[in-house]
């Protein structure tokens, strides 16, 4: 008989995902419109899929360099230079990862010693906290609120810095809030980073999805290139989530350390996905712009719809999420999401999934077809009318 649990304390200490149960409810229902997705509703543009098929036909089925296919890294170096004016050496400052998810894990494992603290925002993407814990670090949350439309403020970061603070891990444009940091705010954050000698892990996977504002790559800020681990990927901009492909750019020292972990845990990213990604970088730009234009239209429709039904919603400037307040219903976000699903068959994600500061909000993804968004808004308006307390 077994007397000890098989599972490590480190893993046991990670709380189970709160949204698991919504899967089970949805599985038993028909006619659900889901605003709970976290990926584009476009299929990968055909020319990119075709390049993947061609790679298979040509027999690209072996391992690649641990760093990734050199041709892809060279294309990435050009891509980053074109968009941000930054120079990275494709030979030693770029690493192709299995999605940005792996990039976050590698970055944390490369830089953290046990007990090191990493500052993250609240609410934030769900994996950050768990990845910090798995890498032996401690996460320290900086609250954000609707007062600044969920943009983290430099002074709030500074208040939480201790001698153990090693890095700041941020993801803007933000999942779940859609917030985008403006240049002035970023400069103030960079100043704090500089003064306290921190590293920055910047997850910019939604960087191409901004509306009417410019996205600033953190590494372009004065003095920040040497301190930043810039993470990005193909999932959101090129609608390539299932290909699992991302990349990291940083100093040679950091990239080499990340590569060390990567080579022993992953070997390399999928070869045919890398071949398809070369095509995405070379000719995918018009498709990116077309998708961004469509998201922008849907974003306006959704935000207006929420505000009209009394679910106050600030204008998200990036990603493909709206983050309306559900305060007017008097429910918790968890309760709201469950009742909305059961009563009106619309799936949203409770804000509390992303941290305490997400309580009172729900995340709604507008990477959904316009007719579905319109129908979902009608159902939600009916729900809000029924449950409005003030």
């Amino acid at each position: 008989m077994k007397t000890r649990t098989a599972i490590s304390k480190r893993v046991r200490d990670i709380p189970p995902s709160g949204i698991r149960r919504f899967f089970d409810i949805i599985a038993s229902m028909e006619g659900v419109i889901s605003l709970g997705v976290g990926e584009p509703d476009f299929v990968t543009p055909w020319h990119i899929r075709e390049a993947g098929i061609y790679a298979l036909e040509k027999g690209y089925t072996s391992y690649t360099s641990n760093y990734g296919v050199l041709e892809l890294r060279e294309e990435l170096a050009r891509h980053i230079h074109r968009h941000h004016g930054l120079e990275y050496d494709p030979g030693c400052q770029l690493l192709v990862t299995v999605g940005v998810s792996e990039g976050v894990d590698l970055a944390l494992r490369a830089i953290l010693d046990p007990g090191d603290e990493v500052i993250i925002t609240d609410p934030t993407y769900v994996s950050y906290r768990a990845c910090v814990a798995l890498a032996g670090g401690e996460s320290v949350s900086v609250p954000t609120s609707v007062d600044h439309e969920f943009r983290v403020q430099a002074e709030d970061i500074e208040k939480r810095i201790t001698p153990r603070t090693r890095a700041l891990l941020i993801g803007y444009p933000s999942n779940p809030t859609g917030a985008v940091l403006d240049h002035e705010e970023l400069l103030r954050i960079a100043d704090v980073v500089q003064r306290h000698d921190l590293l920055v892990i910047s997850d910019e996977v939604y960087g191409r999805l901004v509306y009417g504002v410019e996205h600033t790559c953190f590494a372009t800020l004065p003095g920040m290139k040497e301190r930043t681990i810039y993470l990005n990927g193909f999932s959101k901009a090129f609608a390539m989530t299932g290909w699992r492909l991302g990349y990291a750019a940083a100093t040679e020292e950091i990239v080499e350390a990340m590569m060390k972990v990567h080579q022993y845990t992953m070997m390399c990213a999928s070869t045919m996905a890398q071949m398809a990604a070369i095509q995405a970088l070379r000719e995918g730009e018009p498709h990116v712009q077309q998708m961004v234009a469509e998201y922008d239209q849907r974003r306006r429709v959704m935000v207006k719809g929420f505000n009209e039904m009394g679910l106050k919603c600030f204008e998200p400037k990036g990603a493909f999420y709206a983050f309306p307040s559900i305060e007017s219903t008097g429910m918790t976000s968890d309760e709201f999401a469950e009742r909305l699903l059961l009563e009106e068959r619309v799936a949203v994600i409770p804000g509390s999934t992303f941290g305490e500061c997400g309580e009172g909000y729900v995340r709604c993804c507008y990477a959904t077809s316009m007719p579905e968004i319109e129908e979902a808004l009608e159902r939600m308006a009916r729900f809000a009318r029924r449950h409005q307390v003030r």
Binding site: F23, I26, S34, G36, P40, R300
Partner: protein
């Protein structure tokens, strides 16, 4: 302002209010732009794209290559006009290459289409010859895949 027309081109039933929300352009300006476009024939027409097969009504289409003799002063325009005035000629293009006019002809039966080509189109003065290709199957038309395109297969809940 071209965004207004791009939206209408995709879905002619979008109201000016909806278009205003989608683009952030004030509704009065959207209405004005549409009215102006209707007047100056920038917007030619609003119509519906149908899959007639599903309605049980067969249509026969032929793509006809037409070689013509261009005429002094008017070039190809006069003969093109004589062709496009026939309602059976649904689309008429002047093209480069081995022939001059590309004419899409529609009818209820193959016989009807063939009769139009041999009795009306081919005998026209200036027409040197025609090559007729009957369409066998439409896969995609004007950007729309006829059988519908597969959407992404997404997990409904994902943080």
């Amino acid at each position: 302002m071209n965004d207004v027309f791009r939206i209408l081109e995709q879905d002619a039933r979008k109201t000016p209010e909806q278009i205003a929300t989608m683009t952030g352009i004030p509704v009065s300006r959207v209405e004005e732009a549409i009215k102006k476009a209707e007047r100056d024939r920038t917007i030619l027409k609003y119509k519906t794209m149908l899959n007639w097969d599903k309605l049980g009504e067969k249509q026969v289409w032929a793509l006809v290559e037409v070689r013509v003799v261009p005429q002094r002063d008017v070039g190809f325009d006069a003969i093109a006009e004589r062709i496009y005035r026939f309602p059976e000629a649904r689309t008429v293009y002047l093209v480069s290459g081995a022939y001059d006019l590309c004419v899409l002809v529609a009818g209820k039966t193959m016989h009807e289409v063939a009769a139009f080509i041999s009795e009306k189109l081919a005998p026209l003065e200036g027409v040197q010859g025609t090559v007729t290709h009957f369409l066998l199957k439409t896969y995609k038309e004007d950007g729309e895949v006829i059988d519908g395109e597969e959407g992404p297969r997404r997990v409904p809940i994902m943080p």
